[in-house]
Subunit: 349 residues, 2 copies
């Protein structure tokens, strides 16, 4: 179909190596450069990245594995990461595994077959879904949001514990002491951390710490709604609630509306993650926000450095005990957007 380097060589009377050198930024005599450029234009030549990939054993493609693409938190990260990667010449193959461990394993396998150069993963399960294959092949992995003990790779995390602690502290400073929490699944890394932050703040402030004040919502809308109802029914004296992810925030708000609970008069609320949703709620919700753009940026750049710097970074002090390159764990700070969903009960503030 399209013209090949051979065609350019023939057309210009030059050798293949010269064309290749030109295409890869090597030195070519001015005169020849012009000839080549003319030929390229006339023949509509475009490098065949597939052939190049076969030869170099690098596809310039990154695999991304995420739990849910139609989840604003993940989608924002992907958007940004894809943008950065593409600007560096990397294509991204995205696989949505619908929060299913088995699908995650399949996706990793699929991407391995496709010979992607590296992986960005927000792991769903706690077990190795085939990541070791990549590690063994010397292909870098960056994990986002969750950390896995037995996989040696870079991690970009968020200070979930601190975020939850801060949210609860705000409620305490506003005078609340019976504060509920809608927690995520017990087996999810971020959920555990957020719950730990809540518990720490409750403890440190001598706030009420009944078991009944924590309801589990499983990070889903329906779960958030059910948890909200449960909290409300079991804790007549609860004056505030902290909801620990976006989906559950949506679900809780649905339930709050259905139950006719007045926010913040009857119940103060701090939610999670989605500024737009928070603003569109009545009243505007106070929420913890995650630095999605920053996460994506760190992930993409970490990966690119590993990929491009392979030759340079092999000196001794960049290696760890196993002789592998050192891995980095970055923990980013969360933000907070003030709304009108927290009632001030006293003047401690």
């Amino acid at each position: 179909m399209g013209a090949t380097m051979k065609d350019i060589a023939k057309r210009t009377g030059l050798g293949l190596a010269t064309i290749s050198s030109y295409l890869n930024g090597g030195n070519v005599r001015e005169k020849n450069r012009i000839k080549i450029e003319e030929a390229i234009k006339e023949l509509h030549f475009e490098v065949n990245e597939v052939a190049r990939g076969l030869k170099t054993n690098r596809t310039k493609t990154i695999g991304i594995v995420i739990p849910e693409l139609n989840n604003i938190f993940f989608a924002e990260i992907i958007t940004e990461a894809e943008d950065i990667l593409r600007s560096h010449g990397y294509a991204t193959m995205i696989c949505d595994c619908r929060s299913d461990t088995e699908r995650e394993r399949e996706a990793v396998e699929f991407l391995y077959h496709r010979r992607v150069d590296g992986l960005i993963v927000m792991p769903t399960g706690t077990s190795d879904s085939g990541f070791h294959k990549f590690i063994r092949a010397g292909k870098p992995i960056v994990m986002i949001d969750r950390k896995m003990k037995d996989v040696c790779c870079d991690c970009i995390l968020v200070d979930n514990e601190g975020a939850a602690e801060d949210a609860v502290n705000r409620l305490v400073r506003a005078g609340h002491s019976r504060i509920g929490m809608i927690a995520g699944p017990e087996d999810v890394y971020t959920a555990k951390e957020r719950q730990r932050g809540y518990e720490k703040a409750v403890r440190d402030n001598n706030a009420a710490s009944d078991e009944g004040l924590v309801a589990r919502g499983n990070y889903t809308i329906a779960g958030g709604a059910a948890a909200m109802r449960q909290l409300w029914e079991n804790n007549p004296d609860m004056t505030a609630v902290f909801i620990s992810n976006y989906e559950m925030t949506v679900g809780a708000m649905m339930e709050i509306n259905d139950l006719g609970i007045r926010v913040p008069d009857e119940l103060s609320v701090i939610g999670f993650d989605n500024v737009d949703f928070a603003k569109a709620s009545a009243p505007r919700l106070s929420i913890v926000t995650q630095p999605t753009a920053k996460i994506a940026q760190e992930a993409a750049e970490t990966l690119i450095i590993k990929l491009e710097g392979k030759d340079r970074t092999m000196d001794v002090d960049h290696q760890d005990v196993d002789g592998e390159r050192t891995t980095v764990t970055v923990t980013l700070k969360t933000g907070f957007v003030e709304g009108r969903s927290v009632r001030v009960l006293n003047n401690k503030v």
Copy 2:
């Protein structure tokens, strides 16, 4: 790194062709089949899709170009499409062009270089962003959501006009006659269609049709908010409003809350697209919904048929005047989710 077909050949004492035949589902003597399978297992052989792609000139990869990935409507479509494509062995390369025509052109170019087999596009601009290259190369394109006159490809559309008309008719049947609309950008296909539907319904029902009843919100949250304010201030007698996409629905709700407008007592509202948001609003919003899964399914399947059926479908009655394969345009029906945001003013219902 990994084992190649050659290794399998050596190991089994068979020829390359036999291995290839086995891998591609050809006939292989039982005895040899077993030998091959053993060797594959022992050597951890995995087909190199890159090499295969170079040889066959098919990468088994589909490019997807969308305006915004962090837009729930598009994200839902992508999720579903990616799933279907992957189950057929196709990888997807997603490019988010941030609703920018120039970025869209770059993305199409990028994907062309990557030699993707086909394209799924939700076009941002009105001009050909390099699609002709694909058409010329015989690579199929499926357009979603918007149609472009000068690009010959399959289209999966939604009955936007009908959806808007239906929404307004519902308001009319509830007794409203001064109905506002928050419209999208003048140059966007779907926006024009939705506006046409509104206008048709207004006309057919002899409802008020002042120019001032249509405000333009540009499909953004901020735009929706501004448009809502404008409508409210300029139309003291307006009793209902139809908002024609999701982002503007969010923006309008923000503004409605800020202005303290009571829904549906003071203003009836019909929004667009996101069921979760609609349910989490107070009161629950009535909205037009789009069949995202169906759209994705139609798009993915249309593309796969074109791709796999290339040899079979070349008979005469599948060709159009240009000698190209016929193109299909599918128009899907929208749905409607009833909330509590429409006040019934009479008993026409």
